[in-house]
């Protein structure tokens, strides 16, 4: 076969695999960015020592553990504490003062991965005197990740970088006061996670579960196509109280979405938006 024919066949196989995964396991990756999904699936092919996506599909349909491995590949868990310090600084300066006017708060981290961002937020909320009256929801579609995130235990090898991020983010204390460290791990203070609820939630297939004051969903929408982005942004809008905040990733925006006019821009660079009164 010519290389270009191979490419056509591969696209058909990929389409069928995503359909099979949806029908058998209920996970819907059909509206994910295709180039991204293709890369991840091909990565799995190499790992499984297989030659074609059809072969992988056969295995995945009959063996749940093979599916679990694919899910891990398709969920992007690259994250860090106080990732993009300028974002946290902006939240501290532009969002927190408004959040302080509420007697009770709910914040939703959608697509929380291994939880680094959730714990970073908790630290910031504690320093601003808000942690005690905030209910934090942290959700991800990947159940294995959720289990990890809940523990608040992270590898120690990045702690220097995290400490620098924390300081740049406007941290008020000594970062090491928040965790205990051993040779390999840092274990965050249990008090930080007292009001956290970790749950499996799939932005693609699940619906509104709470009315919240702020949604943090950074570098998740970039993996979705336009239709799915719009659908998820609609879900966010329904989940936010009037005047609630939406925080997206640095390279994400509402610009091409139907939802744009429903928000006021709070920080155009850090992608922080506020739901308008209708």
């Amino acid at each position: 076969m010519q290389e270009n024919d191979i490419s056509t066949v591969e696209n058909i196989e990929l389409e069928l695999l995503l359909q099979a995964v949806y029908l058998q396991y209920g996970y819907d990756f059909r509206n994910y960015s295709r180039a991204h999904v293709k890369r991840r699936v091909k990565h799995r092919l190499v790992q499984e020592g297989m030659k074609s996506i059809s072969e992988l599909q056969n295995q995945i349909l009959h063996d749940k553990t093979a599916f679990d491995r694919l899910v891990r590949d398709l969920s992007i868990n690259v994250t860090e504490m106080f990732r993009n310090p300028a974002f946290y600084k902006s939240v501290r300066e532009k969002v927190i003062p408004i959040l302080k006017t509420y007697p009770y708060l709910k914040i939703w981290h959608a697509g929380c991965a291994t939880g680094e961002e959730v714990f970073s937020f908790a630290i910031m909320l504690k320093e601003e005197g808000l942690l005690e009256r905030t209910q934090i929801y942290a959700t991800d579609f990947n159940p294995y990740i959720i289990k990890k995130a809940r523990n608040g235990i992270f590898p120690i090898r990045y702690i220097k970088e995290y400490t620098a991020n924390y300081q740049k983010a406007g941290g008020l204390e000594s970062f090491s006061d928040y965790y205990h460290a051993n040779d390999e791990l840092v274990i965050f203070d249990k008090n930080l996670s007292k009001n956290m609820v970790f749950a499996e939630h799939n932005l693609v297939t699940d619906s509104v579960f709470a009315e919240v004051n702020m949604i943090v969903c950074r570098n998740v929408l970039i993996y979705f196509n336009n239709n799915l982005q719009n659908k998820v942004l609609h879900l966010f809008h329904k989940s936010l109280v009037v005047g609630g905040f939406l925080a997206l990733g640095t390279k994400e925006s509402l610009m091409f979405s139907d939802e744009e006019k429903k928000y006021k821009v709070i920080d155009p660079k850090q992608k922080i938006f506020k739901k308008k009164y209708e």
């Binding site: 290389e3 270009n4 696209n11 180039a35 293709k38 890369r39 970039i222 993996y223 982005q229 091409f256």
Partner: protein
């Protein structure tokens, strides 16, 4: 190659020494340049958009940081943002990703080249410039396998030789050019499909 007039996009990968090379190469392309250009230059994840602003200032073409879902338009140079991989979709729009580093790099040249090869097939030109690692070699191989045209900067001419050397060894590219030769070759733009 002189017969080829069917190129629809150009991908360029550069690492150490790349800023100097791009500063020479991109401003040499005329405003009428008929192909879109997609660039991965390895950068610190914390860098701002200084490089893009400077290249845009110096170039007749529009040079911009790539946005997700953006359609690829001829005569525009798209640069991968720091700390994001840049991917091309088969509908010729761009995607970004923060998945794991590839070859210790994000953005990775391989990610751009492999997805662009999927999208453009034989209508792609891949160029590897100076660099101190081996990122881009696999990507350039993907371009060649799909029937695309491949160019590597002559190692002796490059500020860092490792990346061109790795690409030459793996790919056996169609052309090995000095930077000046690449500029002369590219600026004609007569290989782009009309």
């Amino acid at each position: 190659m002189n017969k080829r007039k069917d190129i629809k996009a150009i991908v360029i990968g550069a690492s150490a020494g790349g800023l100097y090379a791009l500063k020479k190469l991109l401003p040499a392309l005329p405003a009428s340049f008929p192909c879109p250009v997609l660039v991965v230059q390895h950068l610190s994840p914390h860098s701002d958009n200084y490089m893009v602003r400077m290249l845009d200032e110096l170039s007749p073409l529009v040079v911009k940081e790539a946005d997700e879902k953006e359609p690829v338009i001829p005569g525009t140079v798209y640069v991968a943002p720091p700390d994001y991989h840049l991917l091309v979709e088969e509908d010729f729009t761009l995607s970004l990703s923060v998945e794991e580093k590839v070859n210790y790099s994000r953005p990775a040249i391989d990610v751009l080249f492999e997805t662009a090869a999927d999208a453009y097939g034989r209508h792609l030109m891949g160029i590897i410039l100076t660099g101190a690692n081996a990122d881009g070699a696999n990507g350039l191989l993907a371009v060649k396998k799909r029937g695309g045209f491949t160019i590597v900067q002559q190692p002796e001419d490059a500020e860092s030789q490792a990346m061109p050397k790795a690409a030459i060894e793996l790919v056996k590219p169609h052309k090995i050019f000095t930077l000046d030769e690449i500029i002369t070759f590219l600026s004609k733009g007569d290989f782009c499909s009309k």
